[in-house]
């Protein structure tokens, strides 16, 4: 299995590819893409790429660029496809399209609050036909505002979907401000616990912490599972971290160079 050192190197490379695309195309939700980079790198390498029974659903669809970067570095999408991000004639948009035919992209999102219900439908189907494998959903903390998330939380718990794992990229910000101020979602762990979920918290920008929490949670049964991953928006680049201006800003040439140095990309 790929070790944490290699995963950290992968994360740096993915961050650079993400930042470069936002510089080139002047588009992309950069801050949120960087906060969830480590989570995506970790779960794709350890739970998705060589485990065909596990399915990944990107519920925070605006960060599709981070998913493309991980798939590109893993050679699951071609260079030409990755570089077509946000370009005329491409389907690799800021939100992925159902026109993309790829073994790892199953659902086109963009409207928040849809991924969990969809994943619950898949997990329940797998239970009915006794098919093994997890459905893993990456959600944002902003998504916790959405009523459908809690509808899906109720049914997943009722159906005891222990083959369903949610990871929340809890970067503490949403589009226009702090997620704990816009609609106070605290206490998040207690909320999910009270809905009948197995809850584990971790540092979502630390591979060994992500590993530990996923291992721990996979050992619990009869309940759906959620990892509340505490992250930093804009993680990895000092001048972007926890600054919500980078929610939808793209870097200048100078800023891209600075980022490259910080990420130690040659």
């Amino acid at each position: 299995m790929i070790n944490n050192f290699k995963l950290s190197k992968f994360s740096k490379l993915a961050r650079y590819e993400i930042i470069k695309q936002t510089f080139l195309k002047k588009s992309g939700h950069l801050g949120g893409a960087l906060s969830c980079t480590d989570i995506l790198v970790n779960i794709f390498n350890r739970y998705v790429l060589d485990k065909k029974n596990n399915k990944f659903i990107l519920s925070k669809g605006h960060c599709a660029l981070a998913m493309y970067a991980v798939l590109y570095i893993s050679k699951k999408i071609k260079k030409k496809q990755f570089e077509s991000f946000s370009e005329k004639g491409s389907y690799f948009g800021e939100h992925s399209s159902p026109k993309i035919k790829n073994d790892y992209i199953h659902f086109s999102t963009g409207s928040l609050g849809h991924g969990l219900s969809f994943a619950a439908g898949i997990s329940y189907s797998n239970k009915l036909i006794k098919k093994s494998g997890y459905t893993i959903v990456l959600m944002s903390d902003g998504e916790m505002n959405s009523g459908t998330v809690w509808e899906a939380a109720l049914i997943s718990s009722k159906l005891k979907l222990d083959n369903l794992i949610v990871i929340v990229d809890y970067n503490k910000f949403q589009a226009t401000g702090k997620s704990d101020e816009i609609l106070n979602i605290k206490p998040l762990a207690a909320k999910w616990k009270s809905f009948g979920w197995k809850v584990v918290e971790c540092d979502g920008n630390n591979h060994s912490s992500i590993n530990y929490s996923l291992k721990k949670i996979s050992k619990s049964f009869h309940k759906p599972k959620i990892v509340i991953a505490h992250t930093i928006k804009g993680k990895g680049i000092s001048f972007m971290e926890a600054d919500n201006n980078w929610h939808y800003r793209s870097p200048s040439k100078e800023e891209l160079e600075k980022a490259k140095i910080e990420l130690k990309i040659k």
Binding site: F107, H114, F118, A119, A120, I122
Partner: protein
């Protein structure tokens, strides 16, 4: 119609266990036989319709054929984005079966009426919209929707219960379905369980020496080239429906005949909620649906030499 739906679905599940009925806490006892004999093929998803639709889309992705069932207004109005994005845009075929459509729930008031659902759904691409006039129509709609050669999401707009069965041949998809064919220049087109009213109007007109064609417009979307061609042969088409006319079959037929000379008129022209209580006949009357209203409208045009 809903009782027949439950019976027919039982037989279909018996033959194909991939069919799953998802309800939003409705149909008390209606599906008891399915629940008893095929417990895995029924799931009450609670009063959480948006989740129900996306959950169904996920089940479709995993190889099942989900049927989403509840009262039409909740099934469609609370969930239009989920239907559009998660089922249709993402190519996850589901079947929407709305019960108590139109003014069926007369005594429950406008929160339970659906006079806008055809308009909302017909605005979406890649969807079949069916509105059965009786249980025989419903059977054909179900068969077509469930067939694996049909890749599209379908909507079936049910009435409530005890609708009379019309004496007519088995309907054909993608064709105009005549209930009365008199080689007339004018046609009366209805959708849903309104045949009794239409039949009464047809008889009254006959006494006035006016012969009309009567068409059961059970397939609202798509409208095939064949259907369009046949519709365009009429001088005047009169529509009658438990739906607001501008976005219902009146609006849809007008728009598909916009380059033709055919005039399309709605018998029901009320464009407001029906808040007043009463039996279904009373509410239909208030909405502008009655055999007398049909006769009056058609006789008026005769006087004006419009056909």
């Amino acid at each position: 119609m809903r009782n027949y739906f439950a019976r027919s679905l039982y037989e279909k599940i018996k033959k194909n266990r991939k069919i799953i009925l998802l309800s939003a806490d409705i149909g008390n006892k209606l599906f008891d036989k399915i629940k008893k004999d095929f417990p895995k093929n029924f799931l009450n998803c609670g009063i959480a319709e948006p989740n129900l639709i996306t959950f169904a889309a996920g089940m479709s992705k995993a190889g099942f054929i989900p049927i989403c069932y509840t009262i039409t207004n909740f099934l469609i109005y609370k969930t239009i984005e989920q239907i559009r994005t998660d089922a249709i845009y993402n190519n996850n075929k589901i079947i929407l079966v709305g019960t108590g459509s139109g003014l069926s729930y007369n005594h429950l008031g406008p929160t339970h009426h659906s006079l806008e659902d055809i308009g909302l759904l017909s605005n979406l691409p890649n969807i079949n919209i069916f509105s059965p006039s009786d249980k025989n129509d419903l059977e054909e709609h179900l068969k077509f929707s469930l067939n694996k050669n049909n890749k599209l999401t379908s909507y079936i707009r049910l009435g409530k219960k005890n609708e009379p069965v019309i004496d007519k041949p088995i309907l054909k998809i993608n064709k105009l379905n005549y209930v009365k064919k008199n080689k007339s220049k004018i046609a009366l087109i209805f959708t849903g369980p309104l045949f009794e009213i239409v039949e009464d109007a047809e008889k009254k007109l006959h006494l006035n020496n006016i012969k009309i064609d009567v068409i059961n417009f059970h397939q609202i979307k798509p409208i095939s080239i064949n259907m369009k061609k046949k519709l365009s042969n009429y001088k005047i088409i009169y529509t009658v429906e438990e739906h607001f006319p501008d976005t219902g079959i009146k609006g849809i037929i007008s728009s598909c005949l916009s380059a033709e000379k055919t005039m399309v008129k709605s018998v029901n022209n009320k464009n407001d909620f029906i808040s007043i209580l009463g039996d279904r006949k009373f509410l239909r009357d208030k909405f502008g649906i009655s055999s007398n209203k049909i006769v009056k409208t058609i006789l008026y045009d005769k006087k004006k030499n419009r056909y």
